[in-house]
């Protein structure tokens, strides 16, 4: 009887470990997307967005503002429309173009993969979202813009279908995080 229970517990633990490993591997697979300039330019340090593949500070003294949409009468939507404007150096665009709000700035710069994963799961840091809502967020037009960034900008290299599948795989396996590693 006792041996039987032990076998069940061990099998359960092994299954949980397998799921954790699968989740962590799925997360590691999406990290290059999260660290791509198309994402990082709005998830970097500072009270302002960044531009370009080198992540330089956004020109025109653009600021995050009280809600992530800009400051005073100059908002993200002063220039950014709901779609890209044609032409090199013309403003990119997608619906709801904005930065995270200052109370949860979702700064990813400098985080290890594990810290980034933990931030994404933490409702106190991720915009009060559940893991399922994070999965949904990854399918919003603003995030998917990274695959269609307009002329003169590199798109996120991983196929979008693979990215979304990996995000779902991470969540479906319990959203475990990779092991701790050195800082980025």
């Amino acid at each position: 009887m006792r041996e039987g229970l032990l076998v069940v517990v061990l099998a359960y633990a092994a299954g949980a470990q397998d799921r954790d490993r699968a989740a962590a591997a799925a997360f590691e697979a999406i990290v290059p997307v999260l660290r791509h300039p198309r994402c990082m330019n709005c998830h970097s340090t500072g009270d302002f967005p960044r531009q370009g593949d080198d992540g330089h500070r956004h020109t025109m003294q653009v600021r995050r503002g009280p809600d992530g949409h800009g400051v005073n009468a100059v908002k993200c939507s002063t220039c950014h429309q709901d779609r890209n404007v044609a032409g090199v150096h013309a403003p990119p665009g997608a619906p709801e173009w904005h930065l995270p709000s200052p109370d949860m700035p979702m700064i990813w710069e400098g985080l290890t993969d594990r810290q980034l994963c933990e931030l994404l799961k933490d409702p106190k840091q991720n915009g009060h979202r559940t893991v399922q809502q994070i999965v949904e967020h990854m399918s919003t037009p603003l995030v998917l813009w990274g695959w269609h960034p307009g002329e003169g900008r590199d798109a996120v290299p991983m196929p979008v279908s693979e990215f979304l599948a990996r995000v779902k795989e991470w969540a479906a396996n319990g959203a475990a995080c990779p092991a701790a590693t050195s800082e980025r």
Binding site: M60, V71, A73, A90
Partner: protein
């Protein structure tokens, strides 16, 4: 082509245009308004600025379909040559322009900032003007004019 109704400077207009036409082209070509100007065509200079929903927008990149029912204010919507708006009057008094090509961006940005925050600091106004280019170096006069307008507003709101 599609019929689109626009409210501009207190008047309603019906125009038949491609909904993707930049608002600037409709203002210039269909409504004959020359305040907002074509500068760079890519939201980099501010010459085409108008006020919409209390914020400034670059009309050269905004498709006319995105305006909706909201009122658009252009530079000529502020005042008239006979009775300029106080911020226009302040610019006249300070001689705060040479060619004037940038004035839609400068005046409407300053007005929108001060409408939302009457006690905006010089620094806040300078930050807001960060996206407006002027190539004739009238900046110090412009800031003086904006300060004069803001100070007049504050005195009007809180008479001694």
């Amino acid at each position: 082509m599609q019929q689109i109704t626009l409210r501009v400077n207190g008047r309603q207009h019906a125009v038949k245009v491609d909904p993707e036409t930049p608002l600037l082209f409709v203002l210039n070509d269909d409504l004959g308004l020359r305040g907002p100007r074509f500068g760079c065509g890519m939201a980099q200079c501010g010459a085409c600025t108008v006020i919409l929903r209390g914020q400034v927008v670059r009309s050269c990149v905004m498709p006319v379909r995105a305006v909706g029912d909201d009122e658009v204010t252009t530079l000529e919507g502020l005042g008239t040559p006979e009775k300029p708006h106080p911020i226009q009057q302040a610019f006249i008094e300070e001689g705060a322009a040479q060619c004037g090509y940038c004035l839609s961006g400068v005046i409407l940005t300053a007005k929108a900032v001060l409408d939302g925050k009457p006690d905006a600091s010089d620094e806040e106004i300078r930050i807001a003007l960060g996206g407006v280019l002027c190539r004739c170096f009238a900046h110090t006069r412009m800031l003086r004019a904006i300060r004069k307008y803001a100070s007049g507003n504050r005195q009007h709101a809180n008479p001694a």
